[in-house]
Amino acid sequence: AAMTLYTYPDFWRSYPVLIAAQYSGLQLKVISGPPEFEPQSGCRTDHFLAKFPFGKVPAFEGENGFHICESNAIAHYVGTDALRGIGPKDSALVQQWVSYADGAIIPAVANWVYPTLGASAYNKQASEKAQADLQGALSFLNEHLQTRTFLVGERVSLADITLVCALLLLYKQVLDPSLREPFSNVTRWFCSCVHQPQFSAVLGKVKLCEKAAQYKV
């Protein structure tokens, strides 16, 4: 494969890239382990930093040493025009939802869910604020998806891919049936996306949370 993606194994930030590549049919070689990439120190080795001075994954290497970092940028590159949004209006709306996922969803999901995975320390105030903010975001999304199948236009775009991947940990870890009950349009949209073959080829079968995980002390 002339195109290589460096990532941690099973890393949610890399999913949008892998799903976008499923839609475009691009053959991506995924490197997530030794000898080419040591997950524990991989981003900080001189070899990796020489190629990817951003020092983070996911990181993409194309033909002739063309390098990109940042999940949104790589997914944009390996995707299709349809995924990017056709025309200035739809491509701007795709960008809007990508920014919304980065700014409003991801920090709140991390504050709520990472402590349940042992990935960050539990902070009561931050966790409760995150839950309140996410209730607001899900209500807003639920309204938007009342009359829509997808976020932008009539088909899947990078907006759906990015937002589904941003919400994945929430739906798998803490959004149990009672918590997701008020957001049925969002859950319908989420499930219809993850059941698309291009999503399930990457995510496998996504099991919605039955009992909210508690934070690990």
Binding site: P9, P39, P107, N111, S120, A126
Partner: protein
């Protein structure tokens, strides 16, 4: 998805604090 890899991630955990501060600041600035 290992917790160790997630922990290495660059996430602005206290963004909510700065969002609120930024909104209040600009609202007061022009109050």
């Amino acid at each position: 998805m290992s917790a160790e890899h997630l922990a290495q991630e660059n996430i602005w955990f206290d963004k909510y604090r700065y969002d609120d501060a930024e909104r209040r600041y600009y609202e007061q600035l022009n109050g």
